[in-house]
């Protein structure tokens, strides 16, 4: 089993049958539609973000999200699970990152934000991200607007605006 897992190049913990493992599975986040569950799992020997499809009962691949050199934590999901925000520790500094499952790309949203950040959560439509900031020397709430030109995460089959 260990040897098999070693051959698996996928960084997502898909080599497990059930949702939970005998390692820590924590920080659950649900997509707005209730179908997808994102969480942090230690089952592959490092802290990684996993996304589980509660309808089809299987893990999904997240190519490019988990990197062996960084710790990702505090995932949150938009309405259909298209956008995932999370904290990535980038050379000792936590940054808010956004992964788009459509493009399989991630981008840092907090690059130009100089204060310490924690616990980001994305709105169901994917436009806003709330997070904790240490800007005034204590934890406060800040709201980031990704702007009117992003592709909103809307339900399947809804008309294109």
């Amino acid at each position: 089993m260990v040897a098999l897992a070693g051959c698996d190049s996928s960084p997502t913990p898909t080599n497990s049958l059930g949702l939970n493992s005998r390692y820590n599975d924590e920080q659950p986040a649900l997509s707005g539609d209730g179908r997808w569950l994102a969480f942090v799992s230690n089952r592959n020997g490092s802290n990684q973000i996993a996304v589980y499809d509660l309808r089809q009962r299987r893990f999904v691949d997240l190519p490019g999200l988990n990197q062996s050199s960084a710790i990702a934590q505090n995932p949150s999901l938009s309405l259909t699970g298209r956008y995932i925000t999370y904290i990535i520790n980038d050379r000792g500094r936590p940054e808010i990152s956004l992964y788009d499952r459509e493009t399989q790309q991630s981008e840092i949203l907090s690059q130009r934000y100089s204060s310490w950040v924690r616990n980001p959560k994305i709105s169901p439509d994917g436009r806003y991200v709330v997070f904790e900031t240490a800007r005034r020397g204590q934890w406060d709430v800040e709201v980031l607007d990704r702007g009117p030109n992003i592709e909103l995460d809307v339900p399947d089959g809804s008309p294109v605006q």
Binding site: G18, N20, S21, E26, Y113, V141, N149
Partner: protein, 175 residues
């Protein structure tokens, strides 16, 4: 020509970007009297769904759940949610603004509770679970609730419906 939408955006624009691009921060005014999103006390674990931002704050001397209406820029009352003898943590609200889940710690015992803004009643979802529970969240459409359970010496994740019944998913912890 400046339309009303542009005017609103101008008001909201803040310090994140000097060059007028996105992403940018929304500017919710700070209120020393504790009636705004931020206060002189600490604000923790914010979550956003449509116009609602749920978070906890100790601005009134105990750690309670607060609900902020980002559209009307004011707090919304949640009567019957907070109690004097409990520490509330990690709130999350459904996008229709009706259901708020959070964890409540009372006399060393933590439970996941579901508050219904329509009935103004909070119910415990985890009364049958002996293990420690924490970090709840609710899906935006309000049907699924997930949280952590301390089972067999590590944290596992449990997903339940609004009545607290576990979804039929392989690997779910037993109650």
């Amino acid at each position: 020509m400046i339309g009303s939408k542009h005017w609103v955006l101008l008001l909201l624009t803040a310090v994140l970007s000097g060059c007028g691009g996105y992403p940018r921060l929304l500017n919710f005014s700070f209120d020393a009297g504790g009636r705004g999103l931020n206060s002189p006390a600490s604000e923790l674990s914010p979550q956003i769904a449509s116009r609602y931002i749920a978070f906890v704050s100790d601005r009134n001397g105990s750690q309670d759940v607060y609900l902020f209406d980002a559209e009307n820029r004011k707090l919304i009352d949640v009567p019957g949610l907070n109690s004097l003898d409990a520490i509330a943590s990690n709130p999350a609200i459904s996008q229709d603004g009706r259901y708020i889940v959070y964890s409540n710690s009372r006399q060393g015992n933590s439970e996941i509770e579901l508050y219904d803004r329509e009935t103004q009643i909070a119910r415990t979802l985890t009364g049958r679970i002996q293990a420690e529970v924490r970090h709840p969240t609710i899906s935006a459409e309000g049907s699924a609730i997930a949280f952590e359970v301390a089972t067999d010496g590590q944290w596992d994740i449990m997903v339940v419906d609004r009545s607290g019944n576990a979804l039929d998913i392989p690997g779910m912890p037993k109650e």
